[in-house]
Amino acid sequence: MAERCGIVGIGQTKHDSKRLDVSMVGLVREAALRALEDAELTWKDIDAVVIGKAPDLFEGVMMPELYLADALGGAYKPMLRVHTAGSVGGSTGIVAASLVEAGVHDRVLAVAFEKQSESNAMWALSIAMPFSVATVAGAGGFFAPLIRGYMRRSGAPEDTGIRVAVKDRLNALKNPYAHLHMEDISFDLVAASPMLWDPVRYLETCPSSDGACAMVFASEKLAEQTQTPPAWVHATAMRSEPTMFSGRDQVMPQASLDNAKALYKQAGITNPRKEIDCAEMYVPFSWFEPMWCEGMLFAEPNEGWKMTYEGATALDGDLPVNMSGGVLSSNPIGASGLLRFAEAALQVRGQAGEHQVDGARKALGHAYGGGSQYFSTWIVSSDKP
C-alpha cells in the first residue's frame, strides 16, 4: 500500500428486529453520525462516501445509495456502492480503506446497513430467480448440508455448535448495541430449541435485524490528529470462487484459505493463532466458528472445534472470537461484515467497553458471503504498520 490508513471514527445503531422508530435513511444516519462524533468530525470533513448493502431485493429499493446520498452528506461528493453478498460489509470497509491507501481521498465515510424488517431475506434467498438457487429453504437450508459435512469430516462432538451459540449470546450481553440480549441463555435452552434446518437448531442461527454500521477512514497525517488513537489498517484481502464446480470443497473453500494466506503475508503474520489477539468472524450459524477457525488457519484442518471446546475462543481465552456477540446476536446482513471489521477496530482502540479484550493490539475482522464463496478480511492494529 502506498499510504497508511487509520480508522478514526466508528459508529453503529442499536440493532433490533424492527426499528420502527426510524426510516431507512434515519437508520444509516444514526450510525454515520455516531462515527462522525467519534471522529470529532462533521459532514463537510468527508471527501467521499462508500455504501454497502446486500442485494437490492432485500428491501426492494433499487440503488439505495442514490436515495441515501442526502442523508449521508453525499451530495456533490464521490459516492460508491459495494455489493459482495453477505461479505459486503467487509468489502465496503476494504474499498474505503483502499481509497485512502491509494491516496485518492484523505477522509472516507463507509456505511453499511440492512433494514430486514422492511422485507424478508428468507424469501429473497429462497425464490427461484436468476443468480440464485431455488432452495425454498433460506440460507440455513443451503448451509446445513455443509455443516453436516464438517461434522462428519472433523468428528467434532455434536454439542460444539451449542457451545458457540451460548458463548456468543453471553458476549452479546456485554454489548449494548447487540440485537439479542438473552439473559436466560444456557446450554439446555439452545439444545432444546427446535431443529430448524437439521443439524442446525433455531438458537444456533442468527436473528434478522435492522441495523447499520459506519466508519471514518483517514490518511496518516489526519489520523494522527485524533484524540483517541486510530486503528491502523495493516492488511486487507478479498478472494472469491464460483458457487459450483466439480471438486469444489464447499466445507473449506480454497478461496478462504487463499484469502487467509494473502492477508497474513501482507500483515507479516507467520503464526496467526499467536500473533492475533482477538478475531471477530462472520458466524451466522454456530458451526461456522470452528469452520472459520480452520479457514483462517488458527487451527489445523478438522481441529477448529477443539478451540471452541477448550474455551480458546471465549472472551477470556487465548484467541477470543466474536467478542461483540457476533452475527449470532445481530444480523443486519449488509452491515454484518462491517460490524465485524468495526469490532476489530474497537478492540485495538480500546473502545469495546465490557467486551474489551485486555491489551488487544492486533485484531482480525472477517466476513464471508454467497455460498461460502466471497471472503473479505482485514488486520487492524493499535501500532502503525
Binding site: W123, M129, V136, A137, P145, G149
Partner: protein, 329 residues
C-alpha cells in the same frame, strides 16, 4: 416434440416502509387532501426529504403546504400504459413544480391527449376516492379539467406503508438447458462431459467452469437415474410469503452415478426422515410422461421438481463417505 414453455419469472413480495417523521407527515397529509413540502434553507422541497441535501442537516419538522396547483417543467407521453401504470389510458408523466415549492415532483397527468400537454402548462392535483396513504393517492389534470372535491380526513398518522412489489420477466434458455429439459421430459438425465477435464456436469451450464471452455452437443452424456445422497438437510418450514410447505421436508443433493457434480435441492418425499442419511443409494421415480412439466428452469440451476415424482431407496449398500464428501450441496 412440443415447444418448451417460455422461461418466465415473477418476483413478488410484500415490502413495508417505515416512513420516519417527514415522509410520514407528507403521506398523512396527502391522504387528507393536502400536499406538504419541507423547508431546507431558503428552499421548499416537494416531495419532502428528511435531510437537507445541501447541508445534510435534518429539515425543519414543521412542513409547509404547497399546491394543489402547479406548473409543468417537463413531460413525456405514455402512449401504451402497462398494467402497473397509474392509468390504463394514455397519460403523461410530468415534472411539476407545485405552487410554493422550489423543486419538481414527478407525477402523472391525466390529459385528454398528447396535444393537451405542454411545458409551462398549469395543472392541479385531484384526489382519488380510494386512498391508501401512498403518493398515488393523488394525480394531476390540466387546470381547466380540475374539479374540487371534498377529501374526508383519514384516521391516525401514517408510520408504516405496505407495498406489494412484483416484477415479471422472461429469459431465453441456453441450448444445453433445452436438451437437459427435453431429456427430463423423456425420462432421461442428460449431462455434459468436459472435453478438457473429463468431469461430468449435470445440469451443465454449457461450459467447463474450471477450464473455461464451451461444451457442445457432442459433449452430452446420459446418466443413469441412480445415485447417492451427497448431503441433505431436514427443513422445518417458516411460513414466509410464498412458502408452500407446512410440514418438515428433506432437501438433498444427489450425485448420480458417473456425475462429478450433484443435483442440488432434490425433494425426497416418501422416505422417513430418521432413515434418511448421506451415502444412501436412491433411484429417481419419474412422473407419468403426460404429467411431466418443466418448471422453474433457468440457465443456472435447473429444476427437476415437475418431472421427478420422488426418490426411492435402491436397497443397495450405502456408498462410503469418500465417494461423496467432496460433493455436498
Amino acid at each position: 416434440m412440443s415447444e418448451l414453455p417460455p422461461i418466465t419469472y415473477t418476483l413478488e413480495y410484500p415490502y413495508t416502509r417505515t416512513t420516519g417523521p417527514v415522509v410520514g407527515a407528507f403521506l398523512t397529509a396527502l391522504r387528507d387532501g393536502r400536499i406538504l413540502g419541507s423547508r431546507c434553507g431558503d428552499r421548499v422541497i416537494c416531495p419532502p426529504l428528511e435531510f437537507d441535501p445541501d447541508t445534510a442537516e435534518p429539515v425543519a419538522q414543521d412542513l409547509v403546504e404547497v399546491g394543489p396547483g402547479g406548473t409543468v417543467k417537463s413531460w413525456t407521453w405514455i402512449a401504451e400504459p402497462t398494467r402497473k401504470h397509474p392509468f390504463q389510458q394514455p397519460f403523461a408523466f410530468a415534472l411539476i413544480v407545485l405552487d410554493g415549492a422550489d423543486t419538481a415532483l414527478s407525477h402523472a397527468v391525466k390529459a385528454r391527449g398528447i396535444d393537451a400537454m405542454s411545458t409551462g402548462m398549469r395543472v392541479r392535483a385531484q384526489w382519488r376516492e380510494e386512498r391508501a396513504s401512498a403518493v398515488t393517492d393523488v394525480y394531476f389534470v390540466p387546470e381547466a379539467d380540475a374539479v374540487d372535491t371534498y377529501v374526508p380526513p383519514g384516521e391516525g398518522e401514517v408510520e408504516l406503508t405496505e407495498h406489494l412489489i412484483s416484477l415479471d420477466f422472461k429469459e431465453a434458455i441456453h441450448p444445453f438447458r433445452e436438451r437437459f429439459a427435453r431429456g427430463l421430459i423423456a425420462g432421461k438425465f442428460i449431462g455434459q462431459k468436459s472435453p478438457v477435464s473429463g468431469k461430468v456436469y449435470i445440469p451443465s451450464k454449457g461450459y467447463d467452469p474450471l477450464a473455461r471452455v464451451a461444451m457442445t452437443e457432442a459433449d452430452d452424456v446420459e446418466l443413469p437415474p441412480v445415485g447417492i445422497v451427497a448431503g441433505y438437510t431436514v427443513i422445518t418450514p417458516v411460513q414466509y410469503y410464498g412458502q408452500k410447505e407446512t410440514e418438515p421436508y428433506i432437501r438433498a443433493s444427489i450425485l448420480l452415478d458417473g456425475a462429478d457434480q450433484p443435483l442440488g435441492q432434490q425433494d425426497i418425499k416418501n422416505i422417513p426422515h430418521d432413515e434418511f442419511r448421506s451415502g444412501m443409494r436412491l433411484r429417481a421415480v419419474f412422473r407419468p410422461e403426460s404429467e411431466r412439466k418443466i418448471v422453474e428452469m433457468d440457465n443456472r440451476w435447473g429444476s427437476t421438481g415437475g418431472v421427478i415424482d420422488h426418490w426411492e431407496p435402491t436397497g443397495e449398500p450405502d456408498a462410503p463417505p469418500e465417494k461423496y464428501l467432496e460433493h455436498l450441496f
